[in-house]
Structures are given as C-alpha cells and as structure tokens.
Symmetry: C2
Subunit: 326 residues, 2 copies
C-alpha cells in the first residue's frame, strides 16, 4: 500500500511539474493550437483556439515512469505498456498530421481502426499463449461466468479497440475525458485489488490516476491543454486491456457507461441519418449533435455542468459494479 501511494505521488508530481513546460513548448511550436472541427459547436471555434494538444505525451511519461520503476514487469504489465505505447504512437501520428496539414482530420478512420484491431488481436493472442486455461472465460455477475472459447481473442481485441475509440469520442469537452478516465481506472484498480492477488495492475491504474489528475489541473474548463489523440487513444486502450486482464470486460461497460453512451450516440445519429436519407430522401437527426455531450451543449448546458453530471453518473454506475463482486 505504501508502494501504491509512492506510485501515485510520483506520477502526479511528475505531471504537475512537466505540464507547464510542455504547454509553453507546444505553444511555441504550433501557434494556433489544434485545428477545431468547423462542424462542432460554434463557441468552440473561439474558446478552444490556441490550446495546445498532445498533453497525452506527458500523461504517458509521468504514468509509465513509476510503473517501470516500481511495478513488477510481468507479461501482463509489459503488454499493457506496449499496447498503450502503440496506440499512443498511432494517436501521435494523427495529432501530428492535424497540426502539419492544419486540418481537423488526421488519418482516415478506417485505416486507424484496421491497424488498431490488428495490433490488439496480436496482443491478445500473445497473452493467450502465456495465460492459463481460464483465459477465455469472463465473469459478469458474481458466479456467472461466460466461456467465449476461441471467440475470446477477437472479443478482447474488440474491447480494447472499442475502449480506445470511445475515449477518443468522449474527449470533446474540457475535463470530460479526464474525469471519466479517472473514475474508470479507480474502479478497475479497485476490482483488481479486491478480486486478484496481482497488485501490479492496481499500481498501473494508480499511476494513470495520478498522471491524469495532474493533467486535469490544466485541462479544467477553460483548458490550457488537450490530451489529443495521443492521449485519448492510448489511455482508452490501456483501460480496455486492463478490463481484459482482470476478466471484467462486462463490468467495464457499466463503469465506462459514459464512453458507451457517447459511442452509441454517434452510431445512432449516423445510422438514423443514413436510414432516413435512404427512406425519405432527407437525412434526419436524433440528437442536436453527436457525440451526445455536444447535444447538451446545444441545449445550453454549460460545459462544466455536463462534465460534472457525466462524472456523477459514472461514479454511481461504478459503485453499482462493486455490488456484483461482494
């Protein structure tokens, strides 16, 4: 437990010290900040201007450092680090292309997801080689265990890729992704602590909580920095893989309820638009804007009200998952 607090403070203090320098540095490099998508809420074109992206780089440095220092580098932890770094690289390329071409689109969505899925598949397959028989099983409620058999590998890969992109979609308001990720890591870490003997995964979660708390210090509305794709894709993948490693993929869908809702809102919006366009010749929308946090923005909820209410929802749902364990 002393180790846990050591990891927590190291990652927080590191982030807290590094962010101000990083913000200055990035402001020098990119004078206009991250290009804002012109189809987003109008106010964002003003308030989100000149805010440097790529805060995820510091999140990763300050969280992975204490893990490398103090966690045992078991195959699981190594895979966590590797997958996180790979998704970060992909996000970095995306962020870099955005800055370079000064356009809000980076890599094409299809290319990104295809690469992600292949990497996740390979990762989970390697893990399967190292793991025990029960690897293909996952538990939903206490005592209710589902055996996926060979389907477990694509299922686990889907969880990782889905989580990565869901966090990416959620990252649209100051502090929204950060607060959600903190809750998810806190409860996944807690579940790992309650159900397993492996303290290393709990340490991994704690390191990220510390780093993201220091990020939140500068990301609270009005934000001084964004995490960027390098942050959201990697942190999302780390969350997904953590849930796979502790065999609680289903509970993660409840803990990360906001990620699920945000993703569903986009799927529903696009599907309904395409369907009505096909059927009536004119595309209709379900939400004023998707992802759903923009819907509430259009309804004139203030940015931090949305962030706080979404946070409360995720905390309530996360506490709910604990009842499944005990």
């Amino acid at each position: 437990m002393i180790l846990a607090t050591k990891v927590f403070f190291t990652s927080f203090v590191f982030g807290f010290i590094l962010f101000p320098y990083f913000i200055k540095l990035l402001k020098k490099i990119s004078k206009d900040g991250q290009p804002i998508r012109s189809c987003g809420p109008e106010s964002h074109l003003i308030t989100k201007k000149n805010v440097p992206p790529m805060g995820g780089i510091i999140i990763l440095i300050s969280s992975l450092l204490p893990i490398l220092l103090w966690a045992q580098l078991t195959p699981e932890i190594l895979l966590l680090i590797l997958i996180t770094l790979f998704f970060a690289l992909l996000g970095f390329i995306d962020d870099y292309l955005k800055l370079k071409t000064n356009h809000y689109r980076g890599l094409s969505a299809k290319t990104k997801i295809l690469i992600q899925f292949i990497v996740a598949l390979v990762g989970v397959f390697i893990l399967k080689l190292y793991s025990a028989e029960c690897f293909t099983k996952t538990s939903l409620f206490k005592g209710v265990i589902i055996d996926f058999g060979y389907l477990y590998v694509p299922f686990a890969a889907f969880v990782i890729v889905g989580s990565s992109n869901a966090v990416n979609l959620t990252d649209g308001l100051d502090g929204l992704a950060a607060t959600q990720v903190i809750t998810s890591f806190a409860f996944l870490g807690l579940i790992a602590y309650i159900t397993q003997a492996d303290m290393n995964i709990t340490l991994f979660c704690i390191a990220f909580i510390g780093a993201i708390l220091s990020f939140l210090w500068f990301n609270t509305h009005p934000a001084k920095i964004f995490m960027g794709d390098v942050g959201s894709l990697s942190v999302g993948a780390a969350l997904g893989l953590t849930s796979v490693l502790i065999k609680r993929e289903m509970l993660f869908a409840i803990i990360g309820i906001i990620f699920v809702i945000e993703t569903l809102s986009v799927i529903i919006q696009i599907s309904y638009f395409k369907y009505t366009k096909f059927k009536y010749g004119e595309g209709k929308r379900v939400f004023l804007m998707a992802p759903i946090h923009h819907h509430f923005e259009k309804k004139r909820w203030s940015e931090n009200v949305i962030v706080m209410k979404f946070w409360i929802i995720s905390i309530i749902c996360s506490v709910f998952t604990i009842t499944f364990l005990l």
Copy 2:
C-alpha cells in the same frame, strides 16, 4: 459491503428525487433567493440571484434516512445524528432570519459560535462517559499517540465547532463545499473502515457521500440550489465529530486542508487588517478578498477552475494521509 452500496444508492436516489421538488417549492416561497452579501465579488450579485438556499435540508433527510434504516444505532451514531441535527437547526434559524429580514446576516457570529461550542462540549462530555480509557488519546502518525487528558473534551469540541464553521466559510462557490465534503467523508470513511471494526461510522460517511453527490448534481456552476447554513454547519459538524470518533482529528486537518486554508485566510486577512490599521492608521489586506476562493476569483480564475483545483489538492492531501495508516 452490500449494506454500504445499499446505503449509498438510497441516499443518492432520495436526494436525486427530492431536490427538483424542493427547488420548485423554495423558489415559490422566496422569490429573490438568498440575499447575496454586497461586499462579495460583483459578479455574484447577478449569477447567484434567485438561487434558493437550504438545500442542506434535503441533504440531511436523504442521508439520515438510510442510516436510521440500516446502521446500528450505537451511542456514537446517535450522537452523530443528534449533533448534526442540532447544528442543522442553528443553521436553519440563520437561513430563515436571512430570508425573513432579506439581509445577508443572520444570527450574530459570536452568539452562533458560543451556542455551538456549548453543545459540542456537552456532546463530547457525554461521549466520554460512555467511552473507554483511551478516549482522551488521539493518533497522529502510525504509532505516535498523543494523550490530551482532560483537555481532550475542549479539544474535541473545538474540532467540531471549527470544522462546522470552516465548511460554512468554504461554501462560497458553486460546488466548492460539496466537492470538499465528499472527499473528506470518503477518506474519513475509508480510515474508519481500515482502522476500526465499527462499520457504522463508514456507513454514516457513505450516506452523506450519496446525498451530497445528488446535491452536487444541482449545485454545479451555475447552481440551481445552495446548501445554506443549514447544510454547511451541520455537515461540517458531522465531519468534525466523525474525525473525533475515529480518533484521527489531526489527519482530518490534512484531509480537510482546503477547509483549514479557507479559515486561515479569513483569520490572516482580518488580523493583518486590524494590525495595520492600529499601527499605520490604514488597514491593509493580504488577499484581494477573503475567504481565499474569492481571492482567486478576483484574479480572474473561473469558478469551476477554482473548484476543480481545490478538489484535486484535497484528493492529493487525502491520499497522503493514508500513508500514515499503513
């Protein structure tokens, strides 16, 4: 542990259902909301207008109900409930006088603190009669125990009254007191769980966390309701007495670091003003305005940045206290 989640959900759901009705009711009764002190930040005269006070009433109903239902009514829990209700009554009178006379001052500060101190003294004295020999001892670090002897009774009363008024002072920005109180109850509850066999105090903390989370839903900037003195004085007293009951009064000063800083800022501001007035004939100020959250407001920090940064500070300090236990 199942009991803990039951208490948590009951208090949250109760609050969540009751608050909207209560807000409507209070808006009918008091058309202009709580009078805003004219010497506060100018913006508050506009943004805080028409916001009904006394949200504390619902906090207390929705937190005390599950405690009465499911916690064992030990002498400690009974005293917690009684002290909380007494401080609530005092706060209610204060709130009511404010509404009635349409002035931001209610009872005089001296009268309030005198009554509070007497009640707290009586409460702690009764507790001493029921408690074991070690009652006068309190532990700071692991293994370092201080014995206050007879001085323990006034000391414990001071903790309760101090905490009550500190929360009251802190309650000046939307969501500030609520977020701080949630952290304090969470960590005091955790310490009670780790160090003691008495689950009832942990249940008491959890009930308040649930109720205040539901309050925070409506209190996030821009707030739809304030907790009022009925909330801040009672919740503060409950926190203080909880720290007394688990014998971690010193650690509570670290967990509740923001309460301490807010109170100190007022003491420093007033003392320095009086000192300079006496010495140079002209009163000078240390902060742009006290309590310190107004200082940062004057420095043009946005309200939710202050709330979030203060919250992060309290979380970091609270985690720090856990290292003292393990």
